[in-house]
């Protein structure tokens, strides 16, 4: 992936690796607090980077609570509302932990919350898989510009942006380093 080309020279980091680690720790504590111990929490990351964030959150939750937290992935490609606007895309992995999600508190994890359409699709996908007790949403960055009545329960950083700007999350597992970049779209 050619970041420089895609995000221009002006792309600047708004979160660095230590920031990311810190906000994930904070979110983990918030989850434990709100879920009163996180006993029935299942973390489902949305591919690609939401899955890595979910795994990191699970580790942190485990170190806080001392119990194993089920973590999986939920691909939403087949539930997107813009399928017919773009070429068909390769679908990602959906991996539901062994005990399923029925009656559990599912925390969806994604890197960036933007229009809310991805989360809408994720809620539809969840409905076909089981019936959680409740569903919450954790995101690393909330950049605003919602197009649906959706909000995050846990936010790493609120990042007011213009629609001309781009937000790119890079994670070590996929991109070799942890950072969140704010850039501008190359003008047409």
């Amino acid at each position: 992936m050619d970041t420089q080309q895609q995000y221009g020279d002006e792309a600047r980091p708004v979160l660095e690796a230590p920031d990311i680690a810190r906000v994930l720790t904070r979110i983990a504590h918030e989850i434990v607090e709100r879920a009163k111990g996180a006993d029935d929490v299942v973390l489902l990351g949305i591919p690609t980077r939401g899955v890595f964030l979910a795994r990191r959150l699970a580790e942190k939750l485990e170190s806080i609570t001392g119990t194993k937290i089920p973590v999986g992935s939920l691909d939403i490609t087949m539930y997107r509302d813009d399928l017919r606007l773009k070429p068909a895309r390769a679908i990602g992995r959906t991996e539901i932990p062994g005990d399923g999600i029925d009656g559990r508190l599912v925390v969806l994890v994604d890197d960036v919350l933007f229009s809310g359409r991805t989360i809408r699709a994720a809620l539809d996908a969840l409905g076909d898989i089981g019936r959680p007790r409740a569903v919450q949403l954790a995101v690393l960055v909330d950049r605003g510009h919602r197009e649906l009545p959706i909000r995050a329960d846990y936010v790493g950083k609120n990042l007011p942006t213009s629609l001309r700007e781009t937000v790119k999350v890079q994670l070590a597992e996929e991109d070799g380093r942890d950072t969140v970049l704010l850039g501008s779209r190359p003008s047409a």
């Binding site: 690609t48 773009k86 070429p87």
Partner: protein, 326 residues
């Protein structure tokens, strides 16, 4: 860029692997409480069957319904003799009703190609078997079954069948399954051997990317998968072989022959099987025989093909895979 799936020979290695990987995800849908995806909601697919094949039609129908497409079944019974106009007219009539894709089965080789290229209709065409030409979704589901068994369900993702030795046995001459499999397996890096009596090997086979043998017993110990092709009993009336018994003795797979195969090797059959002819009940019912799996895998493969051809505004096949931006 590909809009249709007419021949397994049209698929690149990356296309084929993408289809297999996608099918692997589709297979997971079968394990969920709600075995349905909303992906093709509002799209209408017509299964245009000019040749009886309940199995293939049901498999496509299951795939279409799991993707939430609306399904129209058109079955022209015994119309292998029907005049050509009926194909053109039928297809145009269906398109006028608003069909987004046509899955076609026809007794005439080349009918799907004709439908896709003649300008009769605009809709994408998926070949569900044409004459003795091609049956690409069968080859894909066979390759999918082989990859799962010989490479591994998860380990296989993103991988092909490089180095796997696949043997196809039986009526190659009249088999669209054989043609499709030879093309696709070669693309996926497998080494293919065809075994048949010389009467059932087509003249001109020498350019196919495979080996030819008339001796099943010599090939079996070097096979990772052995696919038995159906042999119609009527063929012996046209002197392709003397008797059913002689055919079975020389080219049928029984328990003794199966024992000559490596331990990990599997037995495949595209169905419907002619038990006692090309395969004995002992082999057909053994753990090494993947016939039932192949049927289940057929639905996953067809879901994958339909999704990749129809799931976007444009076919995904032969597009380079691009990273998604949020």
């Amino acid at each position: 860029m590909m809009r249709h799936l007419i021949s397994a020979a049209d698929l690149t290695r990356d296309d084929a692997v993408l289809i297999l990987d996608t099918a692997e995800e589709m297979a997971r849908v079968a394990d969920r409480p709600i075995r349905k995806l909303p992906t093709l909601r509002g799209r209408t697919i017509c299964n245009l069957f000019f040749e009886d094949s309940t199995r293939t039609r049901i498999s496509f129908e299951a795939a279409e319904k799991r993707l939430s497409a609306d399904v129209i079944n058109f079955t022209a019974k015994g119309s292998s003799v029907s005049k050509g106009e009926s194909l053109k007219d039928t297809a145009q009539t269906l398109e006028a009703m608003g069909v987004d894709a046509v899955v076609i089965r026809h007794s005439a080789s080349g009918a799907p190609y004709r439908l896709a290229t003649s300008g009769w209709i605009d809709a994408p065409v998926v070949n569900a078997g044409d004459g003795t030409h091609q049956h690409p979704t069968q080859a894909l589901l066979d390759a999918f079954t082989m990859r799962r068994r010989l490479v591994g369900r998860d380990a296989g993702l993103g991988r092909d069948l490089t180095g796997k030795r696949i043997t196809l046995v039986g009526d190659v001459l009249h088999s669209r399954v054989a043609r499709s499999n030879v093309d696709l397996l070669h693309t996926l890096g497998a080494e293919v051997t065809l075994v048949a009596p010389p009467t059932l090997v087509p003249v001109g086979v020498e350019t196919w990317p495979c080996e030819i043998s008339y001796d099943l017993d010599r090939v079996l110990p070097k096979s990772d998968a052995v696919m038995m092709l159906r042999v119609q009993r009527e063929r012996m009336n046209a002197a392709f072989f003397p008797t059913e018994r002689e055919y079975s003795r020389r080219y049928g797979l029984d328990g003794d022959r199966m024992a000559k195969m490596p331990e990990h090797a599997i037995v495949m059959h595209p169905g419907p099987m002619v038990r006692g002819m090309e395969i004995t009940a002992e082999v057909a019912d053994s753990d090494r025989c993947t016939v039932v799996e192949q049927v289940a895998n057929g639905v996953s493969i067809r879901m994958a093909v339909l999704y990749l051809l129809l799931g976007g505004n444009d076919s995904a096949v032969t597009h380079t895979r691009t990273e998604e931006n949020k």
